[in-house]
Symmetry: C2
């Protein structure tokens, strides 16, 4: 076994500190067992079988030899400082072990042991102690309570996954990052069964140090990996997760993500009204929307999308052309493409005419039904395919040949004809819907086609590749620095809340108490007509009964006149009242009632909520979410993504509302929420009036909740 330096395949970017863990040159196995079936025996056995390119150093006080390798009684005896150490000892000994490893110069450790944060408060304390110890030595930790990690490109198996008993991962370019070891092993097994190579895998377990985001990040920075499959139950550290998605975007490598735990989230979120809206899984989706991430619902879809992504063809502005020998399959695909919003534009008419003259009974529009007649003259398939790409201009092409495509009399020629088209257009995504035995499918695989038995799966992966293409083509959102906001000591009252928000660009319905008719008229000019005028006096309770309220005051003269009328009426009906002046307020006419709020999400911090007011939010739950902060353009997209958006755009003869102002207010609210920091618990603006175009948007009520003791909050 030689000492060597791995440089190929080493991540060099932001996540390089995981290299000793996932690309080690030397591995100690503490608690190594001579029994290859035991948890402490498996890593040694796997690395021997996998011909690890570095040194494996079993540590066991009772044996001088483990599975044929020299064993060391104590960590201090190790002949070299291990890049990675596998720790398979009872929880009570883990801290000391890591301390000893740190002293010996160990750079990272994989802690198999359970009995930490997953078992309650005592375990949590132990886990904190473990992390402190590792930090003191500058070590990175995977786990505890993890099934470990492997990197088969160098034969490294710091894992006890029993899936590896069935066979090692196949060569390939897909990485697996999973919070669950058992589910990670399930994915490994499914990938093997489908012939997909997943050489690198990390299960992050309790994540006391290395997070899922870091594992993803290291993989996307690694030249051996093109695609990462990730399984998440809860994103514990949002910053590293976002950093990984940014790195993935920069490296043009997609992350295919199965994120679970909706139902649990739902329960937690049911605690309060706004929380029940904000704790929605859609907050997470809203956060993903900016990045090259495909979120999937099942492991089958995870593998389908990851497999397709290994072709590295991500068509931006995607469109689908379908070549089919079955009209039925064409309808199935058209239905699903429409549902998924994947355009299937028709072939140009001249090309249609040409194809029609080549195969009279064909349907050359799109789907292009070339009929089974082409099986008698397969050069026609090449003609059809070429015309579809060059004349139809489709970014993606799928061909449905089902089992006809793998019949020995058809397959070689069909594959050659389609490969000619494919090779002439290497930027297009070609997917074939075929049924065949693996050995019958292989020539198509080798020619670079994506193979999907089911035409519906073919449409789904084509849609996914287009979404990735669009995401890669789009620059990442810039997260501008947000100026700090000073919150009061305790939750402010309505008036104070409105004042605070108004100072940050979130205006309330304008109103002011004024002393003179001239001041009143000037203020009304400023806030716009019509206005409402009310006598302002603590002594007059039922203002309208004494003529103390004027509605629809239409211009400056009417304000001056009204001012006097209100004073006269007060004088006449409540002669001894102490008058504070006259309140002038913008009268809300023709506005649409909206709802805006901020909710602090345990994972994502402040999240903005927007919806139409009244029944829309309360009965129909027609609300949308976005992580704060965001700019006016993003706010506008968010606002227009509600189902009731037509009501803001002039449906049913209404005036369109002032979308610019509404977007501005929502974006300002999102910045306010970030600037206010962790003491801000929630904001409810209900209603906000979106006025007709050019007339602004105003909060008519405002509630700000503040956490009085930030030390008590769970971080």
């Amino acid at each position: 076994m030689q000492d060597h330096t791995n440089t190929s395949g080493t991540a060099k970017g932001r996540f390089a500190s995981l290299t000793p863990l996932l690309q080690p040159r030397s591995v100690a196995v503490v608690g190594a067992s001579a029994d290859a079936t035991r948890i402490g025996g498996r890593p040694v056995s796997y690395m021997l079988r996998g011909e690890f390119q570095g040194r494996v150093m079993p540590v066991n006080p009772k044996r001088s030899e483990i599975q044929g390798l020299p064993a060391y009684a104590r960590i201090d005896d190790l002949p070299e400082a291990p890049d990675a150490s596998v720790v398979a000892v009872p929880a009570a000994h883990v801290v000391d072990t890591v301390d000893a490893l740190g002293r010996r110069g160990g750079r990272s450790a994989i802690i198999f042991s359970s009995g930490f944060s997953e078992v309650g408060a005592e375990g949590e304390a132990l886990q904190r102690q473990l992390l402190d110890t590792a930090r003191r030595h500058g070590m990175r930790l995977l786990g505890p309570n993890t099934a470990g990690a492997f990197n088969s490109t160098i034969g490294f198996f710091g894992s006890f996954m029993s899936g590896l008993e069935r066979g090692f991962p196949l060569p390939g370019r897909i990485g697996i990052a999973s919070q669950s070891g058992a589910y990670g092993a399930h994915l490994l097994g499914l990938a093997r069964a489908r012939g997909l190579g997943t050489p690198i895998c990390a299960a992050t377990g309790n994540e006391c140090d290395v997070t899922l985001g870091e594992a993803i990040g290291w993989m996307v920075e690694n030249p051996d990996i093109d695609v990462v499959m990730a399984y998440a139950e809860a994103v514990r550290d949002v910053d590293s997760f976002i950093a990984a998605l940014e790195a993935a975007h920069a490296a043009r490598k997609p992350v295919i993500l199965q994120k679970v735990g909706r139902s649990a989230l739902g329960q937690k979120a049911a605690m309060s009204h706004t929380a029940a809206l904000a704790g929605d899984d859609r907050v997470f989706d809203a956060m993903l929307a900016d990045y090259a991430v495909i979120r999937v619902e099942s492991s089958a879809e995870l593998l389908d999308v990851a497999y397709t992504a290994t072709r590295r063809i991500y068509p931006a502005n995607n469109s689908l052309g379908m070549l089919t020998i079955s009209g039925g399959a064409g309808i199935i695909v058209s239905d699903l493409a429409e549902q998924l919003d994947l355009p299937m534009p028709p072939m140009p008419e001249p090309a249609q005419a040409d194809l029609k003259s080549a195969v009279p009974f064909c349907s050359p529009i799109n789907p292009v039904d070339c009929t089974a007649q082409v099986l008698n003259d397969l050069t026609l398939v090449g003609t059809f395919g070429e015309r579809m790409v060059s004349d139809g201009g489709y970014a993606s092409v799928m061909a449905f040949f089902s089992q006809a495509g793998t019949v020995p009399s058809v397959a070689p020629k069909l594959c050659a004809e389609l490969k000619k088209v494919k090779d002439a257009h290497p930027d297009r995504l070609f997917v074939m819907s075929l049924i065949g035995e693996p050995e019958q499918n292989r020539p198509y695989e080798e020619a670079g086609f994506v193979l999907m038995e089911d035409p519906t799966d073919a449409v789904k992966v084509i849609k996914a590749m287009g979404r990735l293409g669009d995401a890669f083509a789009r620059p990442l959102p810039r997260r501008e620095a947000v100026p700090p906001v000073t919150l009061p000591e305790a939750a402010p009252g309505e008036a104070e809340a409105k004042q605070l928000l108004a100072a940050h660009g979130i205006p309330a319905v304008p109103e002011k108490v004024l002393d003179s008719a001239e001041e009143a008229a000037a203020y009304a000019e400023q806030i716009g007509f019509p206005v409402v005028m009310k006598i302002a006096s603590a002594d007059i309770v039922h203002k309208s009964e004494i003529g103390g309220v004027l509605l629809n005051v239409a211009d400056a003269d009417a304000v001056r006149e009204g001012f006097q009328t209100l004073l006269d009426n007060a004088e006449r009906h409540v002669p001894n009242a102490k008058l504070d002046g006259v309140l002038v307020a913008r009268q809300i006419v023709g506005g649409v009632e909206c709802f805006m709020g901020i909710q602090r999400d345990p994972q994502f911090g402040p999240v903005a909520v927007f919806g139409l007011g009244g029944i829309f939010v309360e009965v129909l739950k027609d609300v949308v979410f976005r992580r704060c902060p965001f700019d006016r353009e993003e706010a506008r997209d968010l606002i227009l993504s509600i189902k009731g958006a037509p009501l803001l755009q002039g449906a049913r003869g209404r005036a369109p509302v002032d979308l610019d102002a509404l977007s501005e207010v929502l974006a300002n609210l999102s910045r306010f929420a970030v600037g206010a920091g962790e003491r801000l618990d929630s904001i409810d603006l209900n209603p906000v009036f979106a006025m007709p175009e050019g007339q602004g948007a105003f909060a008519a009520d405002a509630v700000i909740q503040i956490k009085t003791d930030p030390l008590n909050e769970q971080k």
Copy 2:
């Protein structure tokens, strides 16, 4: 080849007329070819290979022998009357061929030939002629333009499907009924690849005679078939389709249906406002809701559900218990079960305590995470499984063991332990989520478990079996006879329409012109207060300006007084006006605006539409559909299935509406639509006011559209 009588496997019910076609004792092949690869040669070749249990009689004027069988020059020469005949001759000769077959005593024919209704008007005429000829001889026809049918239980292959070149269907109990031959063959190929047996298949092609519904119906009446997979593009004959679903319900055999063509339907439906609502695919779904049908979205799902159904365990009142060695898989399953509304109640607390003492680190709630520790003592799996069934009481149990379940050291014992539980509870559905090679899976298959690699697929099929169980447990809706309705010659005006509808239990807002104060008071008492009163005179246009309208008239005395006031005001302001009396109308206070309508669907006849009025129908498209007629209970379910239903039930402090009356009106409308027959084109009642409880429901506007020339309509 012996003459024999097939009695086993023969359908005896309503669909028995298809028996000669799908279970023939003798088959003529007209246009038979000596070349086994040609369309006319394949049926002969397949039946020879398949050892057809009856006589195959090739007809070919040029040969005395075809593929080793004696051939007949003319149909008249056939030695016996054929139960079924395959017709593979050009379209122009098909009518004569069928006529000759009919004269020779042929009972059915499968017309491969294309060039009929699929090619336009001329072909349609030819197809009508073909059908007339067959009817004259009492023959049943499959096709034309069909890939044919097969029944491998007797070696019958009246089909040229190239999928049969790859291999014959496996033995099994799934039937395939498909409108597309190519897609039917695709399903056959997928089924073979999964080891599923589909011995009987019929592709219905242009359906000039035998419909998809009849093919399904014959299969569900056939003792060799337990489940039917169906593929439909358009249900051309609703009656036979419904009859098939009724037969399926009676036989306790499910139909698994892939119905496509949404996007095309959508386009067609965009023609008019109400049509755009009614032409929705949901009309079809609403129709299916009564029956034991699972509608699927992909061929993979079609096969998953059909495969599971072959176990014939359909748990009504379904619930799911999950046993898992992976917490992650447990979360995935919990999420999906919640989303699909599949209950996963927790284990009883005493059972939880027992399991906890057996495996201290287990999580015994549900999902029951027994942890990988049970792999060390597999009798624990039996214990856990038994407690889940007997204490948890779950109707369905899924067990996630992934690849650990097929490891040779684990599999035999694990399978035996779970089989013990399964055999003790034969009424429960047991699904295993496993990864293994086919030979590793086989013992579990043979033990009767349903196997699904993906836990999400496992949840979906369990949900589907429960839906089937509920459907089988529920009696089919009785379709009572509806009394006929006499429509006027042309579309009636608003008043006439309201009168007509009111006579059939669909009341308009009550109003009447009355001559005296006493009559007015009596009428107001009858319709309920408050009422609106208006002077009735063609000479007074702007009634409110002359004091000719009284709102909120609260009791009989006020009506009498108001009557005089209105006359006085009229006299004073328009002294020469001719007065018709005073209109008294129910004043709508506190009602909720709804929308009701009838749209004639090209497939399903009259379909009722219901929604809330205004923005709900126009912006949010919150509308529901149901095929007419239906009763008050069904109407109530329909009404409460809209998203905005809380608004009818007292949301946001409103009074709950008179749901009984609203349901009654909607049910009456559905009967009216059926009773009115095919001349009725559409009805729009917009708005209908649903009044507070006890106060009824009234149409405030009514438009009835009538087709003036029913002969011009497309049937």
